[in-house]
Amino acid sequence: MAVDSAQSPSVTRRPVAWSTPLTYALALAVAAVSIAPVVYVIIGGFRTTPQIIADPAGLPDPWVWDNYARVLTQSDFWKQAFNSAVIAVGTTVGVVVLGVCAAFVLARYTFRGREGLYTFFTLGLLFPSGAAILPLYLMLRDLTLINSYYAVILPQIAFALPLTIVILRPFLSAVPRELEDAAAIDGAGRLGFLWRIMLPLSRPALVTVGVLAFVASWNAFLLPLLVLGDADLHTLPLGVQNFSSQYTSDTAGILAFTSLAMLPALLFFTFAEKQIVGGLQGAVKG
């Protein structure tokens, strides 16, 4: 079911008509509210601070590249971008690998306690991950993991697992049983079936959970704030926050830094937006 519905929009595509002016007026209004502040930040990065103070709502005159150049030539920015990337990639790989393995068992094996195990994982959706942040910090400190990438990656994998399993399980169970039988007749074990047939077939769902995990990790603030005291390990959100509280008078610089920090997540999401909505359809019954 889930696999089908994720693909149906492209299958049932009809020629798309222009709509009424009212529809466009409303859609434009909604879009303006959503994106105007973001556009303002990006354009504001091309102004100077005196320009911004003199006329907060104006356009750049003249356009100044200096703010962006300053941020991009700063070693801190690249170091933080690198840290964010390592942590986000580590988290994404971990979530997808552990999530697929667990969801595969929960979808394709019959055994006593299966539903119990599933409920056990879904309980994580009820757990406010933020609530456990203090004891989590203490535990990571006792494990001497503080100030390492693992201190962020491992808990982030754990936080993301429940949603990942909830999204993946319906996808993996929707693969027809005949395929499993055919693979068995061809001599593939169940693990071979997972590797050669399930993974390629469930790619849309894998992309969905991967992108969700990546964006969540890229944007994470509270956990890195507590466990990454070492400035050399700071991620971009910490960098943006520090920059903005250190150079409060450099408004233009803050705007440029903020714009550059949000760019990767925006690009990533733009590329994967359709996949995400498709992937969520399996988990949300309309």
């Binding site: 509270l222 926050q241 309309g286």
Partner: protein, 332 residues
């Protein structure tokens, strides 16, 4: 339902039973298969279970333990104080302010975001040229980091900043306030920023739910002469019920944990007076930065218990039908 099928799915080529086995051999082969199945089940789920238990469940257990001590975080906790930390929390007016603020955010998010998200989702579910671009734009605030959104709005809302300038140029100058410093207003400013940030998530979920509605239903309604409005009202909205309730659930849990946007947007001094504090910012301020670890953990437990009770009540009374087969339910 999937089921194991010993005859059709021999596990692994090497172990595949040769034809014509005597019954005793066959049963031992079957036992080997069962054993092998359990190895696979345990081997595939164990890593996920370990990480999940270790970093989600175990810390919560420790929180309960630490919360019973007065402890500065150095050496093992020894100064046992029973439930004193909990009593202290409920006697602190700042914490009670934080509780009130969380309540405002929970209710305010539902009341404000719900109708907006429904309207926008129905609008963007219409087929029209350029729809994909509009959908993308509406999700942008949700994809931004909380920190980014927070800093952005902090700059926009600063005294004599862009928002004030815009309001003045629209002739609304008399309505300008100290958005981030006025103790009576700051929580509503926070609610505004949170709404801007998270309404896109509600829209994504509702659009996913809408696209699951079979086209036959809307076509049937059209054949029966229903207008677009009637179709939305009598076909789409009722079918969106489960998705909407799941969103309500996720929104409430998120609102109870609100931290980043408030931490970044509101001035620490305003937060420490309680005007914009939430349970989570109060917990981090007192537990981590003031090094009152026992007390901070008590606040963590309170936050956790409140979230859990809200979640259970909501599940019990509203979500029960939906989660059968949807978020946590059975798979067919």
């Amino acid at each position: 339902m999937t089921s194991t099928n010993p005859t059709l799915s021999p596990v692994g080529g090497a172990d595949a039973p040769p034809a014509g086995l005597r019954p005793s051999r066959r049963s031992s082969v079957r036992a080997a298969q069962t054993r092998r199945k359990w190895y696979e089940i345990v081997g595939l789920t164990l890593p996920a279970v370990i990480v999940y238990v270790m970093f989600v469940l175990v810390p919560m257990g420790f929180a309960v333990y630490y919360s019973l001590f007065r402890w500065r975080g150095i050496g093992p906790p020894t100064d046992y104080v029973g439930f004193d930390n909990y009593v202290l929390a409920f006697q602190d007016p700042i914490f009670l302010d934080a509780l009130r603020n969380n309540a405002i955010i929970v209710v305010g998010s539902l009341v404000v975001q719900g109708p907006i998200a429904l309207a926008v989702a129905l609008l963007l579910n219409r087929r029209f040229r350029g729809r994909a671009v509009f959908r993308l734009i509406v999700f942008v605030p949700y994809v931004l980091a909380e920190v980014t959104a927070g800093i952005m709005w902090k700059l926009l809302l600063t005294d004599n900043g862009t928002v004030d300038a815009l309001m003045r140029s629209l002739g609304l100058g008399s309505l300008v306030r100290a958005w981030l410093a006025d103790l009576d207003i700051v929580i509503w400013t926070m609610l505004f920023v949170l709404t801007w940030k998270y309404v896109g998530f509600a829209i994504i979920l509702l659009l996913a739910g809408l696209s699951n509605v079979p086209p036959e239903l809307t076509e049937a309604a059209a054949i029966d002469g229903a207008s677009w409005w009637q179709t939305q009202r009598h076909v789409m909205l009722p079918l969106l019920g489960p998705t909407f309730r799941i969103w309500m659930f996720l929104s409430m849990i998120g609102s109870l944990q609100a931290f980043e946007v408030i931490w970044v947007t509101s001035v620490p001094a305003v937060r420490s007076l309680g005007a914009s504090a939430t349970m989570a910012t109060y917990m981090v301020d007192n537990g981590f930065f003031a090094r009152l670890w026992g007390y901070g953990n008590a606040v963590a437990v309170i936050l956790f218990v409140i979230s859990f009770v809200v979640a259970l009540l909501f599940q019990r009374f509203l979500l029960r039908r939906d989660i059968e087969g949807a978020v946590t339910g059975r798979v067919n």
